[in-house]
């Protein structure tokens, strides 16, 4: 299909369309919105993107996004280095920090194992996790991968790799979402919730 737009507009639509969750229609809508807004507004967005790309990189230790060699959690001495919470993506750290329940350090795998897509342990930051354990005196690893098939497979693989090293390996309990109805809970979720039950004080 030949493009009906002039090349700069088509390029903008194409680039926007490559973003996650943006289909061709949304790309078109956003592109025309950007063409309509004042030049200052559009340039601010362009600058924000290029500054973020310039200044933000991965923490050398935990692969969280960072603006320095080490991220804020890795360079903060008050964090407990004997516990590492393993997550799939840096954005998961934000969710866990919001709970205020965790005072240890993090490790970002940058994905999860997906056998059907050929994504194995080598494609994730698992070797890097193993190399942190001794030097940092890690005693417990909490596996906080997503409660879906890929996340479970990743968790089981990590448990198999870590347990022989004498570490405590725990998995976050996956249970019922607060505010959800029992009636709508699927069997797997309900089963896990029952396994993770606790006494009522």
């Amino acid at each position: 299909m030949a493009s009906v737009y002039t090349p700069p507009v088509q390029t903008l639509i194409d680039e926007l369309g490559r973003l996650p969750g943006i289909g061709p229609k949304s790309a078109q809508r956003i592109a025309f919105h950007l063409l309509k807004v004042p030049a200052d507004d559009a340039n601010r967005l362009a600058l924000a993107i290029s500054e973020a790309k310039d200044k933000v990189r991965f923490c050398e230790r935990c692969f969280n996004v960072s603006d320095a060699e080490l991220c804020g959690f890795c360079s903060d001495d008050r964090r407990d280095s004997s516990v590492i919470c393993v997550v799939e993506e840096a954005r998961d750290i934000v969710s866990i920090e919001r709970t205020g329940e965790f005072r240890g350090r993090y490790h970002v795998l940058l994905g999860s194992m997906s056998p059907l897509e050929g994504i194995g342990p080598e494609q994730l930051k698992i070797r890097e996790l193993l190399s942190r354990l001794g030097p940092e005196g890690v005693e417990e690893v909490i596996v906080c991968t997503n409660p879906n098939t890929e996340g479970e497979v990743t968790a089981m693989y990590l448990a198999r790799a870590l347990k022989p090293l004498g570490l405590t390996v725990t998995r976050i309990a996956s249970g019922l979402p607060v505010g959800g109805d029992l009636e709508y809970a699927d069997e797997l979720t309900l089963g896990r919730a029952l396994e993770g039950r606790r006494p009522i004080d």
Partner: protein
Amino acid sequence: MSELYRDVGVVLRTYKLRESDRIVVIMTEQNGKVRAVAKGVRKTRSKFGARLEPMSHVRLLLHRGRELDIVNQAESVETLAPLLSSLDRASQGMAAIEAVDQLGLEREPNPRLYRMAVGVLRTIAARPAALNVPAFYWKLLSAEGLEPQLDACVRCGETEPDVQLVSIDLNEGGVMCRACRSGGPISAAALAIMRDIFDGRLNQALALEESPATHEVGALATRALEHHIERRLKAVAMFERH
């Protein structure tokens, strides 16, 4: 063209779509392989919960669309929990459904393939036997009309003990003696296991512990299926290395 239909199926794959939706690929009993959109499935509070994860066996209400159908309702036929209870089970289950995905044709009814998928997942859930996946691959090939001849040399027709059957060549249709041999070598122990799989002694084969012979049968099965579908299988390779 808007119609509702019911079916049962095994979820083979999922692909992320937009913010919180997924495309789910399902091997159904009556409608062949179906691609359908599950809306909101990635939200923690989705009504679908974990029911549309790969390997799930589900009863579905679907809305037929032009390219993609839409999942209206999904309930579990059996729980996924046993398949996610160990790494061996999960990896075997993945290797099994990857093969089903490769062989199933879209919207072309294949109730037998659906039943085989359900059967192998139940077998794996019960016990992660060393030969679950290789035996399943061989059964799939045999359902495709590619059952190897294992009792006599495919070229000269000689049988044991007159000759020793030492190689297997699926292009030729089975095993061969030393004089006729082509394809790859096969050991006597592996040949005995293959005969168990094809001659109605599957349970005997599945009772075997991991050994060089079970690895040989596994490698042969993977190679044969890859040759048939003309592409590499990803899941089985990932866990063979570990």
